[in-house]
Amino acid sequence: MIESILLVDDENLFHLVFEDACSLLEISLSLQTVSSSDEAAKMFKKWYETNSKDKPECVFVDLNIIGSSFDGIELIRKINFEYGNHVVIGIISSSNEPEEQSKAIQAGAQFWIIKSDDIEPRLEEFKKDYQGYKNRTLPFKIYR
């Protein structure tokens, strides 16, 4: 089970779906959700500056976050290259653009989960692979 998860997504309804799916699949006990990449970046900056242990173990970031000054790929880049890394991080989006996926890889994303009405099977598969991401042994994977 993942210790703690942070979901960065502008769609509040998806927060509920993700929370219930994670609880039912027993993926994580602790889930935190934010609606903007700016807010997430601030949180990571603070954790990085204070060397806090409150930071999540795994981060799911939406690709296009409406109302934010930068997108999910930029947030991943910031977390990986500016705020100390050490988290399993990837994209959760309805988009399946190869161009965006290659950008995400360059930014340091480890996975890409495609959002759909039936998210549970993908999360279940992700749960199985999680240890590989944590150990940095698993390559970038797309969950279709």
């Binding site: 309804l13 998806f14 779906v17 219930d20 799916a21 609880s23 039912l24 602790s30």
Partner: protein, 225 residues
């Protein structure tokens, strides 16, 4: 893990049994129930209830998400239709302006045509009048020419008649004079007398012939006119 004392456990179990109020959420998963069968059963009940609630909520949330997605698609479609409608309206407006311009040009063209047609009719009338005038002038000229020819002919005839009559009278007078001299000088008049008589007869005949011819020509000329 969280550990409750026996009293708290009993209160929680009682609350669940009497008022159907159970613990909810992920906190249940961090409660220590080891060594207490009744409390373990209570925690399992709470977990089941929590799962049921989450499953139901997940289904409802998904349905709402689906509806939202459909609504978004419909909204996009509506916006697209609205844009198409606006484009069509603009095109119709442009076409209307274009038709109005064309209509104005056609009206102007029609007016020009009508004016040119009127001018043509007037010119045709003038041309017809000119033709009639030319024909009249031609007729007048022909008449004048005819009259001139007739006058010349008449003058020629008059001259011929005068000359002829002059010749006749002169020949008559000369012959008569010669016959008279022959009579008064008592010369032989046999030849001159018969000659005079013949001459006089011929002259009279010729004179009447000339007069007859002239009268005939005049009569013929009148009939031709």
């Amino acid at each position: 893990m969280i550990t409750f004392n026996k009293n708290t456990k009993q209160q929680l179990i009682s609350l669940c049994k009497t008022r159907n109020l159970c613990l909810e959420g992920n906190i249940i998963k961090v409660i220590d129930y080891s060594g207490d069968t009744e409390f373990e059963q209570y925690i399992q009940t709470c977990l089941e209830k929590d799962k049921d609630v989450r499953r139901k909520r997940l289904e409802i949330t998904k349905q709402i998400q689906q509806k939202n997605t459909e609504l978004e698609k419909l909204n996009l479609e509506n916006e697209r239709i609205l844009e198409d409608l606006q484009v069509t309206l603009k095109e119709v407006g442009d076409a209307k302006i274009s038709y109005e311009v064309q209509n104005r040009e056609l009206i102007a063209w029609k007016e020009d045509n009508e004016r040119i047609s009127l001018e043509l009719q007037q010119e045709m009338l003038k041309s017809e009048q000119a033709r009639v005038e030319a024909e009249n002038a031609k007729r007048t000229a022909e008449n004048d020419l005819d009259v001139l020819q007739k006058r010349t002919q008449t003058k020629l005839i008059e001259r011929i008649v005068k000359v002829s009559l002059g010749v006749i009278v002169t020949v008559g007078l000369i012959t008569t004079l010669m016959y008279g001299i022959a009579l008064f000088t008592e010369k032989d008049t046999q030849i001159i007398g018969s000659t005079w008589a013949n001459m006089f007869g011929i002259l009279l005949t010729n004179a009447f012939s000339i007069i007859g011819t002239i009268m005939g020509v005049k009569y013929a000329s009148k009939e031709t006119e």
